[in-house]
Symmetry: C2
Subunit: 459 residues, 2 copies
């Protein structure tokens, strides 16, 4: 049976090409419990593979046919083949983080097989620090970043002594499921409900377009400058990632009366300014970031069945200012204004608005409109909250959690941040050719955090 | 500057899609010399990467533009990035051939980046038998299998004591180049020559079509049965490979007055019969194999600059016969007839004939004609001669050489054989979904060789 897919979700299939894979990823590092090593974690995962139990969401594949009038829908893959989806990898020597990031860059560059459920889980051994890594890749049509993290944390536990936990792709254990259901009616609403809710999206979208053009709300951007990031891209990716203590970010925010997210954006702003200055490529007017705002917290929405529910704010990054404090101030004001204009809308209107802001971006590759004169914004910066406490899988501590996202034609760099426990991780995913020396941005982020601390008088 | 591409070569770009990557591959196993281990081979390759010397052929990328009226052509990649092309991999434990074949299946499934020169070389460490592996992937538009093997053997040496040899992707050392030039005017003819020679192909093709329909030569097939191999395929691949002593194959051929190639085809025939019988899927009429015949030996052609120069014979595999000897006899007669009808043609006519036989196959995915009523043939079986003597790279002995080829919509399995030293290797590349239990065919090949030995009274 073919279940309908929401228009927003199917956009991610329509817009995909060999140069623009539309999957998100996450890299997870696990510390083996005392008395075990990395290969013991692999043995547990091998056992889970042998069990061959797979959650319904991970058995869904996308299909369209004449019967569905060419519309994309979801159906269960009757020839599901777990070994195609869960793959064993190893790092070449010396097995440093450098080799791990190179492997993830490559794994993130290749397309998912559309004949099968749109995900892959890569088990990675051979880290020289004794940890074990997993890279998971999920099509954006199946889940957005927030849903992916939510699924991930449901598979983990705060209890380091819990054992016999299911694999990441397995159906939830009964205890965990009960707990999630207990949290309210929202989180476990089925696929059909979701489809019903979003079926009316298109008319709303049209209404929102006309209202937006009349009212010019702060969620829309009409003034992003051209930049080196806003050019056609190639299929290969480069990935860089690093974490900083959340407490340092929080202290800066507190002293400057800004949010953690404002400080995260200010770190990106400073790093981008330095990077572009070094390449003699900084635009005169400030870069504009599209900042997705999750709607999950307020409405529940389709969290359990996957699906996308994200609004966006256009943020002035203030990259034309030489002073870190002034950049942070510009960002804070811009985010406050953008969120204010979202406040009066229903979640559905916010989704429609986001689809509007996203649509040229998503539809351009599908329509071949690669030479747009002005980008709607310069890059996407997301900040996705992850688990707040240390999490474990069968005693192995989740030690790091790094997101990989989607660069696009005209959007060669994506920055996605994830908070976890007491750290915040920055994952930078760029076109390998268009964004040279991507790693230098990590140094820029570090320098900017220090500069902000000095500017606001902490640290 | 954009250099023209031959129509046959550009067909491989036009026909490519995410379900039908059009690259060939080869897996090579190297035995380290005494006193060295596999990681020493990697160190030598690392040094070669650092040298950053790349042969012109490997710097060519395919491009088409409005300037070239939409025709594909070749140009030098001005931003060539060796680290994108040469990649370090490692096998997960326990590092058996099983893990190696699984890795190659996956590497062979993903598309090459069309913005860059169409090749990748994967260095693979972690084999538990102490050997070092390399998997190379080259787009069929750049080189055919014969040219790839020729390039490979030019990079190797028969001298186990030779050192300071260039990397596989590096320009040939002066001594090697002189030797190749000395072999006659043919092998080193440039790209422009090749393009000139094939520019007249299309009119010849049209003439050949009409002649073929009138004369019904043995190179064309109009009677292949429908089979489980002739269905639409998916993007993921499964690869299996094994070698047998060439002497066993040769003895069978000698006793039956058949060629080595006839015996190779008979092994495939018996294995396919047993495999399809076990799945209750053997057609009543005999399977027809398309058998490419290389034109390099006679004409030189475009061997050095890459390019494709292959004729084809349609071979009746006699899979309806229960008796191995009778299958071999049918194959021998069919191949002799097919080769006879190629004999009266010029190389260009043979190429045109081959393009004719290939074109429905290659153009079907591009045109979306996936539901052809009868396949032109059931599968492609190639036998590509490799080096006859043991070959070495900087003292490391090439210990095994396995080809990976191209399954297509309607052609879910490809069998390519390579002779090397005193062995013949069979490489089976299949659609992961359409050809289940591909490994069983290896057992079938082994059983059929034994059955043939018994039938003709040798071994």
């Amino acid at each position: 049976m073919l279940l309908p897919m929401s228009p927003v979700d199917s956009m991610f299939l329509l817009a995909e090409s060999r140069e623009h894979p539309m999957h998100v990823g996450s890299l997870q590092l696990f510390q083996p419990p005392d008395g075990m090593d990395a290969l013991d974690i692999r043995s547990m995962l091998d056992d889970a593979i042998a069990d061959d139990e797979v959650a319904p969401l991970f058995q869904k594949r996308a299909r369209r046919s004449i019967m569905s009038l060419g519309q994309w829908g979801w159906e269960t893959d009757q020839e599901f083949d777990l070994e195609h989806h869960v793959r064993r990898n190893a790092l070449p020597q010396p097995g440093r983080i450098l080799e791990l990031l190179a492997l993830c860059s490559r794994l993130h560059s290749s397309l998912l097989d559309r004949h099968r459920p749109l995900w892959e889980m890569h088990l990675i051994e051979g880290l020289n620090d004794g940890r074990y890594a997993m890279y998971m890749k999920v099509h954006h049509a199946l889940v957005d970043g927030v849903s992916a993290l939510r699924m991930l944390s449901r598979m983990l536990s705060e209890d380091p002594d819990l054992r016999d936990m299911p694999a990441p792709w397995a159906p939830c254990a009964p205890t965990v499921r009960a707990e999630a259901t207990g949290a309210g009616g929202g989180p476990l609403r089925g696929l059909l409900d979701t489809a019903g809710e979003t079926a009316g999206l298109l008319p709303v979208l049209v209404r929102t377009i006309s209202r937006t053009l009349n009212e010019q709300t702060g969620t829309m951007s009409f003034s992003a400058p051209k930049s080196m990031l806003n050019v056609p891209i190639t299929g290969a990716r480069r990935f860089a990632a690093q974490s900083w203590p959340m407490e340092r970010v929080r202290q800066v925010g507190k002293a400057a009366e800004a949010t953690v997210n404002d400080v995260v954006l200010a770190m990106c702003s400073g790093a981008l300014r330095a990077y572009m200055l070094s390449l003699d490529a900084l635009p005169d007017s400030p870069l504009i970031a599209m900042v997705p705002v999750s709607l999950h917290a307020e409405e529940g929405g389709s969290a359990d069945g996957g699906g996308n529910a994200v609004g966006v704010v256009m943020c002035n990054l203030g990259t034309h200012h030489g002073d870190p404090a002034q950049r942070l101030e510009t960002i804070h004001a811009s985010m406050a204004e953008g969120k204010e204009s979202l406040r009066g809308m229903t979640p559905l209107q916010i989704m429609a608005m986001s689809a509007l802001a996203l649509s040229p971006l998503l539809l351009a590759p599908a329509l071949g409109l690669n030479s747009m004169l002005r980008p709607p914004f310069n890059l996407v910066i997301s900040n996705v909250p992850g688990p707040r406490k240390p999490m474990y899988w069968n005693g192995a501590r989740l030690d790091g959690l790094y997101p990989l996202s989607i660069p696009l034609d005209g959007q060669a760099l994506n920055i996605t941040c994830t908070s976890y426990s007491n750290e915040i991780a920055f994952g930078l995913t760029g076109c390998r050719r268009t964004v040279p020396h991507l790693q230098r941005l990590l140094g820029g982020l570090d320098a900017e955090l220090a500069a902000l601390e000095q500017a606001v008088g902490v640290g």
